[in-house]
Symmetry: none
Subunit: 131 residues, 2 copies
DNA sequence: TTGCGTGCAAAGGTTTTGCATGGCA
DNA sequence: TGCCATGCAAAACCTTTGCACGCAA
């Protein structure tokens, strides 16, 4: 599980405090630069990777030459649960849907591909922003 | 509309000849290096941008530090097309599938969300790596 | 004491841009 | 002739990595 470092505690604490927000690695880096022990940018990236692995944080890759952004979710079980990310407002929508469950089944049966719902995010424009 | 240059003609001609294939900018660059007037990489990027704008080419952005890939469509509204990315071998599978087309429809009808297939990648484990 | 975690800077990848040159009209 | 398009190399961008040092256990 690793050592219990000041930097790790600051990063996790900061992320928890901004649960729901979508932040870039650089934003996190800058926000941690003030007050307390500063945290190196490489360390921010290393922790984000680790937290993504653990399922505590979701990562959304940006366009080329744009930062990826990260959102703290706290590792809530997201079974049968899909994520729709809106380009416009940036919100992450959590969707439970029987129909979508069948999609994973189809992809497995026909394409032989085991879909990982947790790691997959569907991108588009949400109902509110569509108007 | 711009000048009618040898390089532009070669790029468009090559793309038309590989309609349906998914090519990276670098692949296009390398394929054009042999035979006829070579085309600079910057020019390849400039033409791809231009053709994406015109709707002649679709762009699929890859992960960070991976090339985007491009597909010539000739401006036709082509079939919805999904990307399955395998964690294990890293391959990107391109899937045309009628069933998956209906998924986008469902997401729109029921969840009010306009899915962007170009920007969406489904993650999991491919048939080969599953064994 | 052991060895993981960190910070810095450099490297790594793709894509964009500045600027002088060459080719189209 | 006028000016856009091109090519080269450098820059830009985010992210990863190498290495020495410091700190947790």
């Amino acid at each position: 599980m690793g050592y219990n470092t000041v930097q790790g505690k600051r990063i996790i604490s900061f992320l928890k405090g901004s649960a729901g927000e979508h932040l870039t690695a650089d934003e996190i880096f800058r926000r941690l630069a003030d007050g307390g022990t500063a945290v190196g940018k490489a360390t921010v990236y290393r922790w984000l990777d680790k937290l993504v692995m653990r399922g505590m944080v979701r990562q959304f890759s940006g366009e080329k030459n744009e930062s990826a952004c990260y959102q703290y979710t706290g590792g809530l079980k997201c079974d049968n649960h899909y994520h729709l990310k809106c380009f416009v407002c940036g919100r992450l929508l959590h969707v439970d849907c029987v129909y979508l469950d069948k999609v994973a089944e189809h992809i497995l049966d026909i394409h032989g591909f085991v879909l990982n719902e947790e790691k997959t995010t569907l991108y588009g424009i949400c109902a509110d922003c569509k108007k």
